[in-house]
Amino acid sequence: MKLLIKNGHVVDARTGRNGVFDIVIEDGIIREIGKDIEITSSDLIDATGKYVIPGLVDAHCHLRDPGYEYKEDIESGTASAAMGGFTSVACMPNTNPPIDNQTVIKYIINKSKQEGYVNVYPIGTITKGQRGEELAEIGELKFAGAVAISDDGKPVMNSSLMKKALQYASMFDITVISHCEDLDLADEGVMNEGYQSTIMGLKGVPSAAESVMVARDLLLAEYTNTSIHIAHVSTEASVDLIRNAKKRGVKVTAETCPHYFSLTEDACGDFNTMAKVNPPLRTKKDVEAVIEGLRDGTIDIIATDHAPHHIDEKNIEFNLAASGMVGFETALPLVITYLVDPGILTIEDVVRKMCFNPSKILGLNKGVLGEGRTADITIIDINEEQIIDVNKFKSKSKNSPFDGFRLKGVVYHTIVNGKAVVREKVLL
């Protein structure tokens, strides 16, 4: 049976296609993209008035499986991803046990095939047990299916070890994703160090805790002539450092997350633990710099850092509350509302930053809408508004500071390998 998507506004970054087309999908593959295609005996999705883009690719999420299935598991996590328009997600290795061996990689890949709504790509650790002491078996991780390595959640504090990781990983052509946080500078702070931390009496994390390590990693990548990907950029100084490094020819790519261009530290006011994330929400100046970095191409991709937590891990004292927020189901509306609507990014830019670039950085054959390609497709209405209701999240967790926000942009259909997993906003 064929699937025909009619009259959608097709946008693709790689092929440059940008206009109203019909798409024919058969056996999970895009067979034809053209005008006024008529076929009988096919399933039909009418995409009139909507954008048809490559399925979103998330280079940074936490599925919590194995080990923390009470927060999220592969089924609920990928359901949440599908509702958000993501067709491929790369999950970070801070599971229990961590993804530092091929057994866990195989477990995730197999379980995703059985229970997952979308494609799942595991990210391995940089160091054994994420302890920051010895390199993990990076070659073996890559061979087993890891698409990148990262100790996300923790920095690799030892600079010499980080240098070795970059050198060693480059032999296997696997991307190193760095969680930049100088733990001594962060010094157990729980939010951005600034006006809000001063008036709430919470210990602050200076923005330099991030930027200092961004600088270190850029210098190491430059020195070793290897490439590096900087996770969740949140500060003005980090954006400047990356911009300058790119000018010098350093092989760096960078990501930010929707909360770093849509919220400031003010969201933590009244001890709102839903806004507790790591790195912490910053100031208006940082938000503006992140937006400018997205606009001028310094920041290559938008990742969710989807970090589900159980309500009991959030409904407690701010110091004790877990860091992170549910990301999949609000990412696209936040991008539309805060970046596309004000004219900072075009839809082509969004496709580049949420489909094409992430898939390139992870070495996936995704993120492109073209004939002969796997039919991973997302269909969105960027004019329709919705009010975010965390109780409707498909994620097991409901930790989001965006509950009640009125946002523009609705995911209508998510098609994975030619099969609609979300149809007319409903998870199938």
């Binding site: 008036i199 009496g201 919470l202 001890f271």
Partner: protein, 313 residues
């Protein structure tokens, strides 16, 4: 007037009128406190629980005596920080206390915002007796009461707060409260112990203690936590007392009729010299007495919300 609020979590979100009302009520309470018969029926039939996750003999005793003098039945629960870490939920503890018919829960907690979290989840009134490095509103109220007693008003007074501002909930509450009552508050201390962007709170930040002291009407020393030195926030106690401590020579920079406050207990010879602590300009002992009066006032006003008769007055 009536206090409409259920809780007293801090002085950040309270009006100048409310503060004045509490301080006025405390005047009456001080008269009771100074009399021979310290038994009044203001809190008869009320149940008050102190829930302390941090040790504090002074503050706790002050609250307990305040409750007892006014006829309340009181109980106390001590809990250590380790039980917080063990995951005994503050909300569950609070709800349990609530169910036992408690009217007021007085909480001290090592984490900022804990009283606010508790207040959101219980029916009882919650009084913050110190949370993390956030606020210690009853201490600030007693400080303001003490100043008013001597100076009549805070309006236009220069109040210099000296020391570890970063970790001081006393300083934070005083800054909120005193600026609302019209005082000119300034701070000085080691740069490592000053939180960023203090100026936005309406406070003047000085680089030296001397500058802060010039023409001050009130000088407040803060307790230095000796473990901060081990964390590298200042080099040695000796250096601290040399550059940031208060001695008689430095105090001469302040106005002649200036006086000295300290939330106690004082590290003698570190924040203040013994001659200042025991000297004529010190109101440190008066602060202790006033603490009981202010807490009596507050307990009375919070339990009266919902329209108990004025007859008890």
């Amino acid at each position: 007037m009536n206090l409409k609020r259920k809780d007293l979590l801090g002085l950040k979100d309270i009006s100048a009128e409310e503060i004045e009302y509490i301080l006025d009520t405390a005047k009456t309470m001080k008269m009771i406190l100074m009399s021979n018969n310290k038994k009044t029926p203001h809190l008869q039939g009320k149940s008050i629980v102190t829930l302390f996750y941090e040790n504090s003999t002074r503050t706790r005793l002050s609250f307990e005596l305040a409750s007892k003098y006014m006829g309340a039945s009181s109980a106390n629960i001590s809990s250590t920080a380790s039980s917080v870490a063990k995951g005994e939920s503050l909300i569950d503890t609070g709800r349990t206390i609530d169910r036992m018919g408690t009217d007021v829960i007085i909480i001290r907690h090592p984490m900022s915002g804990a009283p606010a979290l508790l207040a959101k989840n219980v029916k009882s009134s919650v009084i913050n007796a110190g949370d993390g490095i956030n606020e210690h509103p009853t201490q600030a109220l007693l400080d303001m009461f003490t100043i008013k007693e001597v100076k009549g008003s805070l309006k236009g007074l220069k109040v210099a707060i000296i020391g570890d501002i970063y970790h001081s909930r006393v300083a934070r509450s005083n800054i909120w409260g005193m600026t609302k009552l019209g005082a000119n508050v300034c701070v000085a201390g080691p740069a490592t112990l000053l939180p960023p962007l203090m100026e936005k709170l309406g406070v003047k930040v000085y680089n030296t203690v001397q500058e802060a002291l010039i023409d001050a009407d009130v000088v407040m020393g803060l307790r230095i936590q000796l473990e901060r030195q081990k964390k590298g926030l200042f080099p040695t106690i000796r250096e601290y007392s040399r550059f940031f401590g208060l001695d008689e020579k430095r105090l001469m920079l302040a106005k002649k009729d200036a006086f000295v406050l300290h939330p106690g207990p004082v590290n003698r010879g570190v924040e203040l010299t013994t001659s200042i602590i025991d000297g004529e300009q010190s109101l440190i002992n008066e602060q202790v007495t006033n603490g009981v009066a202010v807490r009596m006032a507050l307990l009375y006003l919070l339990t009266r919300r919902g329209g108990m008769s004025e007859a008890a007055n």
